[in-house]
């Protein structure tokens, strides 16, 4: 009985397994070899675009431009945003789903630049080309291209504008300033800050410019997740702790969302408006600049960036090598990534009308 029992267990299960194994199709093997990629792919292929959560106008605009631009170019676009709270896990799942669906190129605006290497590797293994959009994906040898604005230059422009703005308002220093930087998990935040400090540091060393709170380290100045409420809270605290009697002349802010939060905080405390920098040319900030509140922003025309990215996709589709203009500077920790850099433009009240002349949404605001 016992023997029969054991034998029948194995026999029944093995028979069933074998029966089903007979119907199986075997494994997929190495799909999408590099040789195939070199020849390009079908003109109506699926192109995946994975963007971070909709925390700034810029990403919403980019998503719309990708949707329309890919459609015009004849591709099937699949544009996805990460959710508001579970950003990294969402983006990982979205990229994997795009690979499953058979996307030929995946464009990624990373929500955390260091946490996507597994998904990028899976895409690469499936023969998918991966383009990092605006944010460099780090610690992966499988990233193909990077397209972005020159972010060090962005920081330099911000630093220079801050100095110019303060000088124009009050001819002689020393000037009291405070520093803000972006989210520490965004590779660009450090680059902006370093760019700005490359301009500000000599002035600080000379004593012309004083960071009155003493908070100069990027870890002290960082605003997690680029969140406006974080910047506002930090500014509130700085005003209370440091600017009871002192005058605040300028604030280095890495982008417009934070700049407006900083201005809100200063206004709430009843202090005079300092020189505040920004970036991204968001509608509210352009209005603020025209009204004389925020001092400057950076125009990184998202249209151009999306256009360049779609040009890369088109080149890959035709089997050509996409055009790049920097093959040395962007090391992601595993390799130097071929990069196409676009130049940013500094915008103040003085040149706003000229800078936004071609922008259907912003041009009317400057008139």
């Amino acid at each position: 009985m016992r023997k029969f029992f054991g034998t029948s267990v194995v026999a029944i299960s093995a028979a069933a397994m074998l029966a089903l194994a007979g119907c199986g199709s075997g494994r997929d093997g190495d799909s999408g070899s590099s040789g195939e990629a070199a020849k390009g792919f079908a003109a109506n292929s699926l192109i995946g675009v994975a963007l971070p959560a909709k925390t700034s106008e810029n990403w919403v605009l980019a998503g719309d431009l990708f949707t329309n631009g890919l459609k015009e170019a004849g591709f099937q676009g699949d544009v996805q945003y990460a959710g508001a709270s579970t950003t990294v896990a969402d983006q990982q799942a979205q990229i994997t789903a795009m690979v499953t669906k058979g996307a030929k190129v995946i464009v990624i605006g990373a929500t955390d630049a260091a946490q996507l290497s597994t998904q990028v590797a899976a895409a690469h293994a499936a023969g998918v080309k991966v383009i990092a959009y605006d944010r460099l994906i780090t610690n992966t040898p499988d990233l193909d291209y990077y397209v972005a604005f020159d972010n060090f230059k962005v920081g330099q422009l911000q630093g220079q504008a801050l100095l110019d703005g303060m000088k124009a308002k009050k001819p002689n220093g020393p000037y009291n300033i405070e520093l803000f930087s972006g989210s520490p998990d965004d590779n660009n935040a450090g680059v902006f800050f370093d760019g700005a400090m490359s301009v500000l540091k000599p002035a600080i060393d000379k004593g012309d410019v004083v960071v009155a709170s003493g908070q100069k380290d990027v870890k002290q100045t960082a605003i997690q997740g680029w969140k406006a409420e974080g910047a506002q809270a930090r500014m509130d605290q700085l005003l209370t702790s440091t600017y009871g009697s002192k005058e605040l002349d300028g604030v280095l802010s890495p982008n417009d969302t934070l700049a407006r939060a900083i201005l809100t905080s200063v206004k709430g405390a009843g202090k005079p408006t300092p020189i505040v920098t920004g970036q991204d040319s968001e509608v509210e900030s352009v209005k603020s600049i025209v009204a004389g509140e925020q001092y400057m922003t950076i125009n990184k025309d998202t249209r151009n960036l999306v256009k360049e990215t779609i040009n890369m996709v088109k080149a890959l589709q035709a089997g050509n090598t996409p055009q790049v203009n920097d093959t040395k500077s962007y090391n992601n920790g595993s390799k130097v990534v071929d990069t196409f850099l676009l130049p940013p433009v500094a915008v103040t009240k003085a040149n706003a009308a000229e800078a936004y002349a071609n922008d259907p949404k912003l041009a009317p605001l400057t008139k």
Binding site: Q80, G83, L116, S117, D185
Partner: protein, 432 residues
């Protein structure tokens, strides 16, 4: 007794808890099939199945611990923060203190145990409600994560990544499949058949009527068929991919914890405490010890889930763990646990978690945005529980009620049967 009645009574009905899983599993299968058709076969393709398990194993691991916490009548809001806190410490321990990765995993589990002991102490011995203790823990350990990591993203070494993104190895002759996965599947099939035959022998030994032989064979055929299908899917992934290691960790935990909660005195004490803590205490259950254990256990599993996520992401980041507690809690309630405690099963929670996971995955394959996915998931959670509550209060026959009944342990042991027009009136009278 007609053959149909035999089938009703014995295939998935009867009173064995094994058979009672049918309802929820039926829902899961329906969702899978709907998406399989809607996505033109992408849902069940091997690469998608593999990704599905890799993406959700950490949430399902959390759901195991959360089920026990909820059954005991508590809640744990801190799991995401605990996971992130353990994740950053483990990442730092490897990159900065050069701990070898197996030691780092033990270190991570130890951190989970220490945090769990801290939270368990407040819940069990001081008597602060778990909601408050873990709300505090949520802030405490999220802050701890940012403090230790300086809100940076810290990469982890290759070996460690295996627990989150690794697969069963390739070895042996080229069969066109991953041999390790085939062996695993064969083992699972043998286990299923062995269990069925042993159950028959036990019933015979107890002089009880075993189910008719043909029903047993049908049941075995269905289960072995499902296992064989899944095995072949996982084994036929792209070379280098197969059944994920995080899936193995999950399987081991599910089996171990299912056994613990179902078949051991310690596990049954958790249900007793959740059902009626005073009565349990008076019957000799060590209330404090049970409460301490479930809270501590939850944090250990949270630390494990955090490590698996970090391993899969190849780095520990400041946003790790955001919102995980809600996913885990949703899985447990969709899986039929009661808010008041005392009711729920591990396997129900896993199936509940898989329902959410398949929904998420299928909608993403269809290119539905995360905004809409969140809306749909929210509605599914609300409706699944609401329809059940409503129908129960009306005393009507409810499909979901009968689907969920397998997970309600306080129910009288009325035999569960598939909805059947002929039997419906009788049923309504019984449950009314």
């Amino acid at each position: 007794m007609s053959r149909l009645k035999d089938l009703q009574k014995n295939l998935f009905g009867g009173t064995t808890s094994n058979a009672r899983q049918f309802g929820m599993i039926f829902t899961l299968v329906a969702i899978v099939l709907i998406f399989q058709v809607w996505t033109n076969g992408l849902t069940l393709r091997s690469d998608n199945l593999i990704a599905l398990f890799q993406q959700n194993s950490y949430i399902l691991i959390l759901a195991i611990g959360m089920l026990m916490v909820i059954v005991a009548g508590h809640i744990d809001l801190s799991v995401g923060s605990v996971a992130a806190f353990a994740g950053i410490l483990v990442a730092k321990s490897m990159t900065e203190w050069d701990l070898p990765w197996p030691v780092a995993i033990l270190f991570g589990l130890a951190i989970g145990a220490i945090i769990g002991a801290w939270q368990g102490f407040w819940v069990a011995y001081v008597g602060v409600p778990a909601f408050i203790v873990t709300l505090a823990g949520m802030l405490l350990f999220r802050g701890g994560n940012q403090f230790i990591g300086n809100a940076n993203t810290i990469p982890v070494p290759e070996g460690f990544r295996e627990i989150g993104s690794g697969f069963l190895p390739e070895f042996g002759p080229n069969t066109g499949y991953n041999n390790a996965t085939l062996l695993l599947g064969l083992a699972a099939a043998v286990a299923v058949v062995w269990r069925e035959l042993r159950a028959r022998n036990t019933r015979r030994a107890m002089d009880a009527d075993p189910a008719p032989m043909w029903v047993s064979i049908l049941r075995m055929a269905i289960m072995v068929g499902v296992i064989a299908f899944a095995t072949l899917r996982f084994a036929s992934g792209r070379v280098g991919t197969s059944f994920p290691i995080s899936g193995i960790i999950l399987l081991v935990l599910v089996i171990a914890y299912s056994f613990y909660t179902r078949n051991t005195a310690g596990g049954r004490h958790i249900y007793a405490v959740g059902g009626n803590s005073r009565a349990a205490e008076l019957s000799g259950v060590k209330l404090k010890r049970v409460n301490f254990f479930v809270m501590m256990n939850m944090s250990v599993l949270a630390a494990l889930a955090g490590m698996i996520f970090v391993a899969r992401s190849a780095a520990s980041g400041p946003q790790d763990g955001n919102g995980w507690e809600l996913d885990a809690i949703a899985a447990v309630f969709i899986g039929g646990a009661a808010v008041a405690g005392g009711i729920g099963t591990i396997s129900g929670s896993i199936v509940g978690g898989l329902v959410m996971a398949v929904l998420n995955n299928g909608l993403q394959l269809e290119g539905v945005g995360t905004d809409k996915v969140q809306i749909i998931k929210g509605l599914v959670l609300l409706l699944a529980v609401a329809i059940d509550v409503y129908n129960k209060s009306q005393g009507r026959f409810s499909i979901i009620g009968s689907l969920m009944r397998p997970f309600r342990r306080d129910d009288p042991a009325a035999p569960v049967s598939p909805p059947d027009a002929e039997r419906e009136p009788a049923k309504a009278a019984v449950s009314g």
